[in-house]
């Protein structure tokens, strides 16, 4: 009898390894043997050169804020943020010197600064219609 939590990634192939211990979850990258570029998630083809010669890599959980914005109005469509909208940061977080990943930012909007160190924060976004917990990610300040 399994005691594993039933968890799935918000996007197939987004995370490396099991999702049981969220403190140990990493984003997955796909490193291309042909051109050396790394794409986000488990990919079938390199986004730069199209090669299928890709290896999965666990991306580091630390990053720095390359640029950001503050979203001041509720995004359209099926946005899953707080029921009462609060302006939030969105940024490009540079990871391992290879990739800048667009992500929601957890720090208070007034604290956001280009160059600030950040840490990956995987979390349970919602429970889907099959009872599985859907895991999403954001980046928080180092202490968060």
């Amino acid at each position: 009898m399994s005691t594993e939590t039933n968890r799935i990634a918000i996007k197939d192939g987004l995370f490396a390894g099991p999702l049981d211990d969220l403190a140990d979850v990493h984003l997955c990258g796909s490193k291309c043997a042909a051109c050396g570029e790394t794409g986000l998630g488990s990919l079938d083809a390199c986004p730069n050169c199209g090669s299928a010669d890709l290896s999965p890599v666990a991306l580091g959980n630390r990053g720095t804020l390359y640029t950001y914005t503050i979203v001041r109005h509720r995004p359209p469509g099926n946005y899953r943020g707080p029921a009462e909208f609060k302006p939030f940061g969105l940024g490009l977080v540079e990871v391992d010197g290879v990739l800048r990943i667009m992500a929601p930012l957890l720090p208070t909007i007034d604290d956001l600064r280009i160059g600030m160190p950040l840490r990956l924060h995987p979390y349970v976004l919602r429970t889907d219609e099959n009872g599985a917990e859907v895991i999403a990610f954001a980046y928080g300040a180092m202490g968060e």
């Binding site: 918000i10 996007k11 987004l14 050396g36 570029e37 794409g39 986000l40 986004p47 730069n48 050169c49 390359y66 640029t67 950001y68 914005t69 503050i70 979203v71 001041r72 109005h73 995004p75 359209p76 469509g77 099926n78 946005y79 899953r80 943020g81 939030f88 969105l90 940024g91 490009l92 540079e94 990871v95 010197g97 290879v98 990739l99 800048r100 990943i101 667009m102 992500a103 929601p104 280009i114 976004l125 999403a136 954001a138």
Partner: protein, 382 residues
């Protein structure tokens, strides 16, 4: 390569704005205006290309049937914000191939009201996490530019101020209204640092041109504006952070889509940026125009803010940009926006722009850029 000349012998438009009219009415009015301006009949047109993004399949045929059901080829073209450039390219090639002497190229859009359905562009997970705001992408570019080059909020607002001021005399524009710097800088933030009066709104509109071969121009005794170049590209890998991108490379430094497309257009036209008298460019947001100054070569990298601050891109400046008021004033009916720029540039080269005329304009450039890094540049010469 020896290629034959292609000319614009007529142009027309339906104002950009929000109308209680069908897209067929809006599009066919623009086409009829272009035909009338060219002094040719719809039954004389041998092929037609209709740029549109948010309209249903076979919109071109449904629009142009309003002018009479002829048996020519009518093709819908979609390349996001660059749809009009892609359509113009097809029309030019049909004439250069010797397949037609008289072609209609039009763009029509009728945008859905309110926020556009984000699932047309974004993946479900991006929408759930709040990454489905187009201005967020533009704003992140602006924030980085401010960080690297010291571009200021005031310089970004100056673009919006200039374009709104230019629109006052343009009947095509949705907003023909001047706003003060204070009003712009006090308008609400949409996505920092971009404010409400610094972004363009999707709307309805149409624009059309009639293209003719050299032989046809002679036969008609028409005075054409030469299409010196049309280039359309999609961006190189990781060269352009624009929706719905999920990531950027931290190692690659590829040329941006406007740089690549401009280089191709300048080469095809056999001219440099110094020989171009006026410009209409994609000002989806006010910062975007600053970046495009740099990418087209109007100034060096990082100097775009200074260029607008020094008044160089005003009418009367050394390199006037968005004399029409730009998309910030006209709105952006996506399929029609580039042909709307062409209508303005044809009028500039004919010298019929009245208060917004660039004196002595002989060469003009139109530029659009949007989703997927779709970019198109057209160069026209008197």
């Amino acid at each position: 390569m020896n290629v034959s000349n292609v000319y614009i012998i007529g142009s027309g438009y339906h104002s950009f704005g929000r109308f209680d009219k069908s897209y067929q009415q809006i599009g066919s009015e623009a086409a009829a205006a272009a035909l009338s301006d060219a002094g040719v009949e719809w039954r004389d047109i041998q092929a037609a290309y209709m740029a549109r993004m948010y309209l249903p399949a076979t919109s071109g045929a449904r629009i142009l049937r309003c002018l009479g059901a002829t048996d020519i080829s009518v093709i819908d073209i979609e390349a996001a914000c660059a749809s009009g450039g892609a359509a113009l390219l097809q029309g030019m090639m049909a004439i250069r191939a010797g397949d037609a002497d008289l072609v209609l190229v039009a763009g029509t859009e009728k945008m859905p009201r309110g926020f556009m359905d984000p699932s047309m562009i974004y993946s479900p997970w991006q929408i759930e996490l709040g990454m489905s705001m187009n201005p967020a992408y533009w704003s992140m570019r602006a924030m980085r530019h401010m960080h690297e080059y010291g571009t200021t909020h005031e310089q970004i607002a100056m673009v919006a101020h200039k374009n709104h001021l230019n629109s006052v005399h343009n009947p095509m524009a949705m907003y023909q209204k001047e706003f003060s710097m204070e009003q712009i800088l006090n308008s609400p933030l949409v996505c920092d640092p971009i404010r409400l009066l610094e972004i363009c709104a999707p709307n309805d509109g149409a624009a059309a041109v009639i293209l003719a071969s050299e032989r046809k121009v002679r036969e008609l005794g028409a005075k054409g504006i030469r299409v010196a170049a049309v280039a359309h590209t999609i961006s190189r890998y990781s060269s352009d952070f624009r929706c719905p991108a999920e990531t950027m490379s931290a190692t690659m430094d590829n040329l941006g889509p406007s740089e690549v497309t401009a280089a191709r257009a300048y080469e095809a036209a056999g001219i440099g940026v110094d020989e171009i008298d006026c410009f209409e460019v994609q000002d989806t947001d006010a910062f975007c125009e600053i970046e495009i100054y740099e990418e087209l070569g109007l100034c060096g990298v990082g100097e775009g803010g200074r260029l607008v601050q020094d008044g160089q891109t005003r009418i009367g400046g050394a390199t006037p940009v968005n004399m029409s008021g730009g998309l910030i004033s006209k709105g952006e009916p996506v399929g029609a926006s580039h042909l709307g720029q062409i209508v303005e540039l044809v009028a500039q080269l004919r010298g019929t722009c009245g208060p917004r005329q660039v004196e002595g304009a002989k060469t003009a450039l139109g530029h659009v850029l949007g989703a997927g890094g779709n970019c198109a540049i057209t160069i026209l010469q008197k």
